[in-house]
Symmetry: C2
């Protein structure tokens, strides 16, 4: 199944099943809420069986929202593509490097990425993401497979100047609404990252990243297993599995995103994210004063 | 006001106002939910005015829960006490080192801290925490003061062997139910960390940490302002402000917690956390197999 989350004119979001060129609306605010119902597969099948033509919408008639809008947890993995680790001359890591993002970092697959202009070094990171389907704690990799509802794509837009201010990356990874997620969650029975799906990123049409989803040091099931050793994962939780080589910070000289730049992330069989960068004057967020000016000037 | 969250026999939690030796139950599942209602101060005043003696409970008749049970965000600051930075011979940091915790890391002020025995180097971190009262983004330090609902205490129990496996600390900071928070939130009109409140930690009665809440490089208002530059803070969000010197990992030789060890965290005018460490066999969490054994053996 190919599941998406659409945004209605009144800003309400809704999960939909994508079939051919149509959307079948489902009784959930987003794909995360949908899969929290244990019997969701049966529900979708029943709705599909009884739907009339009038129940469908034409695809593209409404904007897409983040495929999961409010995960309890987003866990991200760094340093995970073998080809990228080799090109950097690093040893293969023994453990996954993990950090967290907040739910409100998420954005729609085609949303503009708005950043305050105190963010200077804005970079891209194309990533395969997975969505947890059922609660798990301390599961093995073999068991973990059954807890993955499906796969989607993410662009872990990173503000490198903030990320590098301190040893912990959070502040460069947590600007509100800067991580597009989607365009669809493809259920795990229909797609397998071990098949080596190409994942690419372009900036203004120029390809900057390419990788294959079977090149992960820690594959999706391994990540779910590892993370579940210390924390309970629940339906709708999202794991970002890391980015291939070719980020802007690693270019010589480094290359960062400017106003109006358009970034695409494509994963075969999942689809495309396409987002443009917009810088807002810091005034748009704040009432300026001296203390804040000190930050802006850094 | 001194607000707490109690746990009823059916596991339901409820916010209460602590007055002398009594609790006045309030219409909210926890202090976080209480302060999400804009008019919560008026509500508490009204309830108090109209309460009869029968509406009160005796304090101590029910266990306490984490004072906020489900914050949308928990942001933690490392390297923040000047005395500790000096004793480590480090320069004063220019920016706060920030990382995130998940809501289900939280535990009650007197709960046992249960850890799977794959956690080997378990350490303490006494911390002043603050609770956000009203939504804010990109506020100055002066404005930030008005967005702090109150202050509480935390013990940021850290699993150092996991924390140090990779450059990012998350996996050592995110074991479920290992961060006691409470015992009360004292509203910001009644307490000011700039007064230099003593914060202490003991292990089995022996004092291991002492600090003063006016010794922070980045004080509570500064942290709220800084964090609000990149993310929206909302009522019930929690910020942990860092720990003074004297953690076990910094002792020579390092000292970690064992089964049955009891840790207290005291902050003057807020109160005491008192928690004992319990290690559960990994079997209690999992069905063992070879892959997992590999983790256990590390």
């Amino acid at each position: 199944m190919r599941l998406q989350t659409i945004r209605h004119a009144d800003n309400r979001t809704q999960a939909v099943l994508a079939t051919d060129s149509r959307w079948l609306p489902l009784p959930a605010t987003d794909v995360g809420e949908l899969i929290r119902h244990t019997e969701w597969r049966g529900t979708v099948t029943d709705i599909r069986r009884t739907a009339s033509a009038d129940d469908y919408l034409e695809q593209g008639t409404l904007p897409l929202a983040s495929v999961v809008t409010s995960p309890r947890k987003i866990v991200c993995c760094g340093h995970n593509y073998r080809a990228h680790i080799r090109e950097m001359g690093r040893p293969e890591p023994e453990y996954p490097t993990l950090f967290a993002k907040f739910a409100d970092t998420l954005a729609g697959p085609h949303d503009d990425i708005e950043l305050p202009d105190i963010a200077r070094q804005v970079d891209w990171e194309a990533e395969l993401a997975l969505v947890i389907g059922t609660t798990c704690r301390a599961v093995t990799s073999a068991q973990a497979r059954d807890h993955i509802a499906g796969y989607t794509a993410a662009n872990d837009i990173s503000v490198r100047d903030w990320q590098r201010r301190t040893p912990q990356w959070l502040q460069g990874k947590a600007f509100d609404a800067t991580t597009p997620l989607g365009p669809a969650m493809v259920t795990a029975d229909e797609i397998d990252p071990a098949d080596g799906l190409p994942i690419t990123c372009t900036v203004n049409g120029e390809q900057v990243q390419i990788g294959f989803t079977d090149d992960l040091v820690f594959d999706p099931a391994h990540l779910v297993s590892y993370i579940s050793q210390f924390t309970t994962l629940a339906p709708g939780d999202v794991i970002l599995t890391g980015t291939p080589g070719g980020v802007g910070a690693a270019a010589v000289p480094p290359r960062y995103l400017s106003e109006g730049d358009t970034i695409t992330v494509d994963i075969e069989r999942i689809g495309r994210l396409r987002n443009s960068i917009r810088f807002l004057p810091h005034d748009a967020y704040i009432t300026r004063d001296k203390e804040l000016a000190a930050y802006v000037e850094h």
